[in-house]
Amino acid sequence: MFSAPVNRIIPFSSVDGPGNRMAIFLQSCPFQCWYCHNPETINLCVHCGICVTKCPSNALSVIDGKVVWNSLHCTQCDTCIKICPTLSSPKITRFTVDEMMIKIDEVRPFIRGITLSGGECMTYPEFMEGIFTQTKKMGLSCLIDSNGYRLFSDYPQLMKVCDGVMLDVKAVDSEFHLQLTHHTNEIVLKNLEDLLLMGKLQEVRIVVLPGYDAQNKITIAYVAEHVKNKAKIKLLTYRPYGVRKVGLDKLGTSMLSEKEMEFYRQFALENGASDVIIL
């Protein structure tokens, strides 16, 4: 039975795809984006124990060399996350496919589908396939929220039970992508084309960065030209909340204005996109 480390489950989410959905956030991500809002999802816990002594409500302990989290004592003050030196969290629970299906079944009447997100959920494709296969049988839709670092076409069985992918395109300029995320983007861009061909591109998200007008335009123009009217494009306003120092140094603490975002929306439309929204 496949399992995966889960950072968080949101039983009712209205912002992770169409309608009301259960959103499941899997732990760990191969990217380290400057603007990451939840950097505690980037790495797996190395059980260094630093957080254990700092927990004000004694919700953490070390058992057999592993950090163990007691959710009943936890007040969600997030001290552990703030001081974690490895961009991780001790509040991770490993779920098998069957255990996760119980969680999904609890909310089944009230949701239209589920969305697997992260971290980067494609780190656990076998677990995802197991979840989606059973979820589809319940009559629910299954979406993936991904940074596109893994080639979807390598997982035909998973794609059969996946209704669509919400793909992040962080940057199109390969050099800039490497700086921004510590990772290359060839596979991301290949995925953009593959998903269009498969008819599985639900939407593309682009974070619009303050102070990087040229890069914003390269990314938006490329995505708009490729996507055209085949998927929605969401332009996300960079927000400094939760961003760590490395990101704040590069991107600052201010946000682009509505007017500036509207400029980029128009720019996307001029480059061939037909459905562009600002968030």
Partner: protein, 497 residues
């Protein structure tokens, strides 16, 4: 009860509110019906509450006239011909509302407004103006939050205009319910209703299929969320305060076998007395034009057996002191709750109710929403105490265990944050799932709005602020909302993010 001098010198009461209070004072001097001394004791000790209906009933508590008759035939008594256009239709209704009594003196049911008005729409712009003025008139003249209108289940232009004007006017009155059936109501119309609900705290969503299975097609939602027959209504509504009577029990067995039957008998006797008097002696069913002209049929009235405080009752009987660990959180406590309601339903069903031929000769259960004086130790009906609500899906599932027992009214209220305003269709997913799972009535509002739902009725926070400044306000129910805020934390529901 304040005396006449106190009523007449109270600067917080409007003239109209003084007249209503003085009438009640006068009614209560009568001693024609001799109530059981044990019943009077139960009232004094807070075990039963008569909801201040008054000593001698001169009209049923809730009245739901069939306004379609007014549209088709007019009214002889009101000297109204059948209306021919939207202006005449809204005007005829406004005239009739003035002559529909109830326990509050205001009409608690205004009709299926979309069905009534849709046939009169020729020009959309003109109709919207007429409907806007109509709704404004209702808010300013029928100034009581228990005034209630219905729309749906079908998507109509009149329904859309009512929603548009409801959102624009931002008033607490009238209360509004969508009769929702996913097979009859379009997704788009349901989304529109959810969107207006997030901006104006109405409409609420009623489980159309469930109500039809119990009442047939001729049912209405009136007052807070009361299911009643169209062309009928509710005779009377006393309520058993389960939270209080649980304190008198030495064990769960004793509660079930001695205490509960004792109070059910007292309630039944009291309801029998009032209904017998109302039907046999008072003039209402003999000479009121509503009866004579067929707007009402006495046989379609129901005696409503109310209750409150199931949560605290169960926690007391199970010796739970922390409300976050008991009812709504522990399946053993919830199982007891279901057992109590089942037992109560059986006890009530055993009693042959007078003048209830069309209701199976029995009284029907009603989960009353509480009154401001109940305080924090008495939750509405079968609801989980405010402040101890679990995650929304757990709260919904909990409520579905109880809703089937309460055809004459039960519901739950959910408070949402701003983000849901952008995705009303996601909210409809939740509501549809809730109703499909057996929930009877779903209300929601957005935490940041002026119009909010207190326990079953709506108030404007701005009106309550006026009361706080010791200024009189138009809406009768604002003072109730103020009390519920101060005494029962009714504004502090869990926010769904």
């Amino acid at each position: 009860m304040p005396n006449a001098y106190e009523i007449i010198t109270d600067t917080l009461l409007t003239y109209q509110q003084q007249v209503i209070s003085l009438a009640k004072l006068g009614e209560n001097t009568d001693t024609t019906i001799s109530y059981n001394p044990k019943f009077k004791k139960a009232i004094e000790e807070g075990d039963i509450c008569d909801l201040f209906e008054g000593a001698l009933p001169y009209r049923p508590r809730y009245i739901a006239p069939d306004y379609k008759i007014l549209m088709e035939k007019g009214s002889e008594f009101l000297e109204l011909d059948p209306p021919k256009d939207i202006w005449e239709a809204t005007n005829a209704l406004l005239i009739m509302y003035r002559h529909v009594p109830s326990v509050t003196t205001f009409p608690v049911y205004l009709g299926a407004l979309d069905e009534l008005l849709d046939p009169f729409i020729n020009d959309e712009k003109e109709a919207e103006k007429a409907i806007g003025l109509f709704l404004l008139n209702i808010d300013r003249t029928l100034n009581d939050s228990f005034v209630h209108a219905n729309i749906g289940p079908k998507d109509t232009l009149a329904g859309r205009l009512i929603l548009r004007q409801t959102e624009k006017l931002q008033t607490a009155i009238p209360n509004l319910t969508l009769k929702y059936d996913p097979e009859l109501t379009s997704d788009e119309f349901a989304s529109l209703c959810a969107s207006v609900m997030l901006s104006t705290a109405k409409p609420s969503f009623a489980n159309h299929r469930m109500f039809v299975s119990e009442f047939g097609e001729r049912y209405v939602l009136a007052s807070c969320y009361n299911g009643l027959r169209l062309g009928g209504g509710g005779y009377t509504l006393p309520r058993l305060r389960l939270n209080n009577i649980a304190k008198k029990a030495s064990s769960i067995d004793q509660f079930m076998n001695e205490i509960l039957p004792h109070y059910v008998d007292l309630m039944n006797e009291y309801m029998d007395q009032r209904i017998n008097f109302l039907v046999e002696k008072s003039s209402f069913f003999k000479s009121n034009y509503l009866v004579k002209e067929g707007f009402l049929n006495q046989k379609d009235f129901i005696g409503m057996f109310g209750l409150v405080g199931l949560a605290e009752c169960c926690n007391t009987l199970m010796h739970v002191s922390d409300s976050n660990q008991g009812y709504g959180h522990d399946s053993n406590v919830d199982d007891l709750g279901v057992a109590i309601i089942q037992h109560l339903d059986n006890l009530v069903a055993k009693h042959k109710a007078p003048y209830s031929e069309n209701s199976g000769d029995r009284y029907w259960l009603h989960a009353q929403v509480g009154i401001e004086k109940d305080g924090p130790d008495s939750s509405p009906g079968c609801r989980i105490p405010i402040g101890s609500e679990p995650e929304i899906y757990k709260q919904i599932k909990h409520s579905t265990r109880f809703h089937k027992y309460f055809p004459t009214g039960i519901g739950d209220i959910f408070r949402f944050d701003e983000t849901w305003k952008k995705t009303p269709e996601a909210l409809v997913d939740i509501i549809r799932g809730a109703l499909n799972s057996g929930m009877r009535y779903f209300s929601g509002y957005c935490a940041s709005n002026d119009v909010i739902r207190v326990t079953g009725y709506l108030v404007k926070k701005s009106e309550i602020a006026k009361l706080d400044r010791k200024e009189a306000v138009l809406n009768d129910a604002s003072v109730l909302g103020q009390g519920s805020r101060d005494l029962a934390h009714a504004f502090d529901r869990r926010v769904q993010k």
